[in-house]
């Protein structure tokens, strides 16, 4: 009798626990017709255009928005999209005229106001938009987004709506390539619904791109469907895309092998050796506007003293880039020979071989230079990186082994992992680095300016090592003010040579985008931002 009561109690408590397991999830939308599925992971921020600073959110924005300009998926060149013309005489005052006939997928017309409102929203401090600084060139930015204190204006004084199809932009300085930056997602137009019912818009964003969002289950999947009435020339050639959220890129890859997924745009490093045989050639590996470098802490006198540039150059020469990109990355990276990216093309300012001998593997030269420069500070360098994403550990270990072998000292270089990206950024922000650290740069727009100014200009937002050179700054200012594109690019290249001579950062390699796809798909390509060109894919 007594025992029975014990059992009852135990069973009762167990029942409470089990009850929690009852409810199930929702079903998956199976891909039908020429709808295909592609791998995705959760965007880190709400899907607002000016608040999306990583590639996963960027993928969606690229499908549901079209801006004034669009970067050609092949050449990366900024082409007019909604802009009929962008006129300027002085590189500071711009008059933008829109093409007629564009609407949002909810029927609302895209007008000059759609842009001006969107840009004002993105710039305004109170909206916490992480890409607000993109509007920093527009006059009045310091009023709507002061560095400290409250904002004294709600809208940018440099933006004026002239009529439905025209607006003017006044910049606070000359910036000749300003029109070419307008393909960036932050400059997308926004419909009224974004402002009037923000929560509903976020739950199911509405834009003016070739796709519309059919359904969005956060954390699981987003179903995008072709927008039949899309007015642009780049209509979707498939009926839609189901973006499936994967916890891990390797799982997505395995699902592709098993036939449950059509497109994987991030082939895991461990599968690169067998990817060609696994997928029977349905694999692409194409250059993207990403460069990996080693940055240095110039706030540390060991790295800013005269002669340290020889040590930095010596380290650069001690890294066998070719071997590492072939062995560790299986040619999904290309040894870097300048500080930009091949996707710019020679015309855009990429100059292969600019780095010269300093980027060639030369153990003897490396030893000599390090010695001439006064040796490694403290006899050892540590390369700091974050261990929570990418396969950083592998290449840092390989770089260190290469340096150790070249310098003939098995403890000359050691990797220093930091647990999380946030902590890594924290330590960088608080100037805690004592040696080189990982620095990766994915371009916002395909301009040489974007590879140099944010990274090396005095106190620029991504100048993590606090490198500063007056000559470099002057050249960048001059290049920005230059109205002739070719002369502007040439001046930027002159500035890049300053970076080279000082070895401000050691260029490692250019990163490619890689993707694998199923037999159903054809015409798969990646754009220079390593995002699949979804609208051109044909699904069988």
């Amino acid at each position: 009798m007594r025992r029975a009561s014990h059992t009852t109690w135990a069973v009762c408590t167990a029942a409470v626990v089990l009850a929690a397991a009852g409810c199930g999830g929702s079903g998956t939308g199976a891909a039908r017709g020429s709808v295909f599925s592609a791998s995705w992971s959760d965007p880190q921020n709400p899907l607002e255009p000016a608040n999306t600073n990583e590639v996963q959110g960027g993928k969606v924005l690229d499908m549901i928005f079209r801006g004034l300009k669009r970067y050609d998926p092949r050449t990366g060149r900024a082409m007019d999209m909604l802009a009929q013309r962008i006129d300027t005489t002085d590189s500071q005052h711009f008059r933008i005229t829109l093409r007629d006939g564009w609407t949002f997928s909810n029927g609302e017309k895209v007008t000059a106001r759609s842009f001006v409102d969107a840009w004002n929203y993105g710039a305004s401090l109170k909206n916490n938009q992480k890409n607000a600084y993109f509007f920093g060139y527009i006059d009045g930015y310091d009023k709507v987004h002061p560095e400290s204190g409250a904002q004294s204006a709600g809208t940018l004084s440099g933006l004026k709506v002239v009529d439905d199809r025209t607006f003017t932009v006044r910049l606070n300085q000359k910036f000749s390539s300003f029109p070419d930056t307008l393909g960036y997602a932050a400059f997308a137009p926004l419909p009224r619904a974004f402002f009037t019912d923000h929560a509903a818009w976020l739950a199911k964003p509405v834009g003016n791109g070739p796709y519309t969002i059919d359904s969005y289950t956060r954390g699981f999947q987003m179903a995008l469907r072709k927008w039949g009435a899309y007015p642009g020339a780049d209509k979707a050639r498939n009926d839609g895309v189901n973006l499936m959220v994967y916890t891990d890129n390797n799982t997505a890859y395995t699902d592709l092998l098993a036939g449950n997924l059509d497109l994987v745009d991030d082939v895991p490093a461990a599968q690169l050796k067998n990817v060609r045989s696994d997928l029977d050639g349905r694999y692409i590996n194409s250059p993207a506007g990403i460069i990996q470098t080693l940055a240095f802490p110039y706030y540390d006198k060991d790295w800013s003293r005269p002669g340290a540039e020889k040590v930095r150059t010596g380290l650069s020469m001690a890294i066998n880039r070719r071997q590492i990109t072939e062995t560790i990355f299986r040619n999904t990276r290309t040894p870097a020979t300048d500080w930009t990216s091949p996707v710019l093309g020679a015309e855009g300012g990429h100059q292969a071989g600019l780095c010269g001998r300093a980027c060639d593997y030369d153990p003897a030269g490396a030893r000599k230079l390090v010695q001439e420069g006064g040796g490694l500070p403290g006899g050892q360098v540590t390369i700091t990186y974050n261990a929570d994403s990418g396969s950083h550990r592998e290449w840092v270990d390989a770089v260190c082994n290469s340096i150790n072998n070249a310098l003939g000292n098995d403890k000359a270089c050691i990797g220093n992992p930091v647990g999380t990206f946030a902590d890594f950024r924290n330590q960088i922000g608080r100037h805690r680095m004592t040696g080189p650290f990982r620095s990766g740069w994915q371009m916002d727009y395909p301009l040489i300016q974007n590879f140099l100014q944010p990274l090396y200009y005095t106190n620029a937002s991504s100048n993590d090592g606090k490198w500063s050179d007056k000559g470099f700054d002057r050249l960048v200012d001059r290049a920005n003010a230059e109205t002739d594109t070719r002369r502007s690019v040439a001046t930027f290249q002159q500035a890049e040579r300053v970076v080279r001579d000082q070895m401000a950062a050691v260029p490692l390699w250019y990163q490619n985008g890689s993707a694998g796809y199923s037999q159903r798909l054809s015409h798969v390509a990646l754009n220079p931002f390593s995002v699949p060109v979804y609208n051109e894919i044909k699904a069988g």
Partner: protein
């Protein structure tokens, strides 16, 4: 919390009769086996359980075999150069993932390091982490769990709830928080971390085992005869509650060595240039399809170590069980 069925008065009543002959009580419970030919204990004093166990162990081939393996592991941990002349930090990327070849019997890993040399050198960190963390966890866990299970009451309640809290701390969070502030690149912070987060597991097991053992007739008898709580715990309960602790601890030894890999993977465990099986196993794991050998050897070394300790634990446990004699 579970409490003794009979009134607490029993303990104090027994306590008053503390002058009773304890040896007799022990003889009643433990000396079931007739004194064997090797009965070396001094005359007049009963042989202790522990010395009995030791006598058994010395003749047990399983014990001797596993002790030999462990001795070997200790030797190469102290002097890895006894069996390899290589340097675990000398790696040539050109040889990455290559298989076995003369002079390099185990082949090369993804960085082109010699797997044999690294496996030998990895023993030191891995065996130290495994053994020290296990010892720490076992001692702390069984002492706390044993006391809680034996005495019950408020102490038990507090300790049990404390283990609930500790169990709930995710290892990843604990590691990132507690180990990221440590700058020392030795195994000790890692060991300390494992002990801190690992003791509740053993504590639970020990508490449960003690609660069961406490009910046994011979414990009641010893208590009635006035044995002190310390004596009851050590002489009568511990030997009967130690089995599950040994089982869990010997398996945990392997999981601690593996956990060290997880911590290294998170960037908070052992950092380069440290060499350990865990680091090598986690580095080789994703490449299982291309270079299984780089995973096989450090994993094999880990398996042999765990096997030796499991067999050792089994032998010790058998030796401590008077009913098996």
């Amino acid at each position: 919390m579970p409490e003794q069925h009979e009134p607490d008065g029993a303990v104090s009543a027994a306590g008053m009769g503390g002058a009773m002959d304890l040896a007799a009580a022990e003889a009643a419970t433990l000396e079931r086996t007739p004194g064997g030919p090797g009965g070396a204990g001094p005359r007049g004093r009963p042989r202790s359980l522990w010395s009995d166990a030791w006598r058994d162990l010395r003749r047990n081939p399983v014990f001797l075999g596993s002790a030999l393996v462990i001795l070997f592991l200790v030797l190469i941990s102290l002097w890895p150069s006894l069996i390899t002349s290589g340097n675990p930090l000398t790696c040539d990327l050109a040889k990455a993932q290559e298989g076995s070849q003369p002079g390099h019997p185990f082949g090369f890993d993804g960085q082109g390091c010699d797997v044999y040399t690294r496996t030998v050198y990895g023993a030191r960190a891995s065996v130290t982490v495994g053994v020290c963390a296990t010892l720490g966890v076992a001692v702390l866990g069984s002492v706390l769990g044993g006391l809680a299970g034996f005495f019950g009451g408020l102490g038990d309640a507090v300790l049990s709830r404390l283990t609930d809290v500790f169990f709930a701390i995710p290892v990843v969070l604990g590691g990132l928080v507690l180990l990221s502030v440590v700058t020392s690149n030795t195994v000790w912070p890692v060991v300390g971390f494992m002990v801190l987060l690992g003791w509740p597991q053993i504590s639970r097991i020990a508490r449960g085992a003690v609660i069961t053992a406490r009910q046994n007739d011979y414990v009641q008898a010893a208590r009635a005869l006035g044995a002190s709580p310390a004596r009851i715990l050590l002489r009568h309960i511990a030997p009967n509650a130690v089995a599950p602790v040994i089982v869990v601890a010997t398996i945990a030894l392997g999981t601690y060595i593996a956990l060290e890999a997880t911590l290294s993977y998170l960037g908070v465990g052992l950092k380069p240039p440290s060499v350990s099986w865990g680091i090598d196993i986690s580095a080789a794991s994703p490449y299982i399809r291309n270079a299984p050998h780089a995973l096989l050897w450090p994993s094999g070394a880990l398996a042999i170590t765990v096997l030796a300790f499991i067999m050792l634990g089994d032998a010790v446990r058998d030796a401590l069980d008077p009913r098996l004699r």
